[in-house]
Symmetry: C2
Subunit: 261 residues, 2 copies
């Protein structure tokens, strides 16, 4: 098990390995050749960056039964379960790191919500792989917060600004390798109060199914990410709130909401 | 007016400037510092690469009145005009260069079609810009072919494989700066026979409108691209066919269709 982080010093971004309360700087990246350097820092002093900037940013829209049932009830519509693993996308402009601020735009409404998600980070190029071998192409796992403006989600023809406005995609804090998905629980807290708790792997289509299906048509590159969806019914968040998403074995992704101009 | 191309020599990809039948290699990129080298090649000998690999790949889904009217008639549905400029996305895995092959998957149906599009390539970081200043952030223009599998487009929950399967996004041949959009005509040919011809700038929402609107929520980065939609009713293409998309002042993007396994 290795914990890969990406950190900033001045204008430079580098990879490092977290061990206890220390971070050892690494030359190279986890996606290619790399070696540990002699330089280490106290983890508490490190400014974390997003753990990777993907070539393609895959995102599973709806992938938990409870989320679909409860969201449909709330919207007064019939629940609709996805019949097959059709993948969606998000965009890099929206990515922010652990501890960076989610900026709520001035024209965003009250239905401004978090979604806590498991994220697969790919380590190897992957095309036409079986379900059985799919996880061999995953370097490790991180956490994503699929921040959503529900009114824009409803009224726009696409998900562009509802899901991809700048700062709407916190990802981090780091990538952890060698985890067992069945051991994971996702816990979401707003200002320290638990708002959701679910078995992370209780998905309609699991990660191997999605990876195998996508790879029949699309080449997945090292550094690409796949966000796996959320469960439960997210609550509204507002400027001043802090959202924490914790997944067993990975850690906590924490971001504060601030008011945009 | 400058014609920027990106070309391959061995495993290396570099930028160059096209002048007449020669290509002069450039150190650096058009998005940052650069200078011409003393090295030039006959253009005919150059293996072109896609002119840029974007951080975010914006794509306007439907943006021409005739396309909407005729496609709706063909599908037996009411035409639906977009009430506002909501942007969509495509993905990097699908990009191929001029003269590279579009691979039609073995399980794709007959309704396999081209869409000829004008593409804006951004040269500067762009956030919250007015319509009037929007084009100042565009480095230049290239051509895109938004290859689409219409049955998948209809039956899937998202556009993922209908629009983003590997090789479904030819882009090129190069980027041309300093063009006047009102002077452009888009002409599409299949096996040399003209199948579509339309005024390139006859859009429902023009490029400045889209750029200004997107930039209210999303930071557009240098190297990002925005595909502007197509007009007319595309025809089906099949393995063996060659599609050419010509736009005044830019050139011709040509790709052959081959059968996938």
């Amino acid at each position: 098990m290795t914990t890969w982080c990406r950190f900033k010093t001045g204008n430079k971004t580098s990879y490092g390995v977290v061990e206890g309360d220390q971070m050892i700087a690494v030359e190279g990246t986890p996606f290619g050749e790399h070696k540990r350097t002699a330089q280490s820092y106290p983890l508490a002093s490190v400014k974390l960056d997003i753990p990777v900037r993907p070539e393609t940013f895959y995102c599973v829209g709806i992938n938990y039964k409870d989320h679909i049932l409860k969201m449909a009830k709330m919207r007064g519509v019939e629940p609709s379960f996805p019949p097959k693993p059709d993948i969606g996308y998000r965009t890099n402009n929206a990515l922010i790191a652990h501890d960076e601020d989610i900026v709520k735009p001035a024209d965003a409404g009250d239905a401004f919500q978090y979604e806590g998600e498991l994220v697969a980070v790919f380590g190897k190029r992957c095309r036409n792989v079986s379900k059985e071998e799919a996880l061999d192409y995953v370097l490790g796992w991180t956490i994503g917060n699929d921040v959503s403006e529900r009114n824009w989600q409803k009224i726009d023809r696409t998900l562009w600004r509802a899901k991809n406005t700048d700062t709407f995609k916190p990802m981090g804090p780091w990538i952890v390798t060698g985890l067992n998905l069945d051991d994971m629980t996702t816990v979401i807290r707003v200002n320290g109060r638990e708002t959701d708790r679910f078995k992370t792997n209780n998905m309609i289509f699991d990660a191997p199914t999605y990876i195998s299906e996508v790879s029949k048509y699309c080449t997945i590159e090292p550094g690409d990410v796949m966000w796996m969806g959320t469960d439960g019914v997210p609550e509204n968040i507002k400027p001043g709130d802090t959202v924490e998403i914790e997944i067993t074995g990975i850690g906590v992704l924490r971001n504060k909401v601030v008011q945009g101009k």
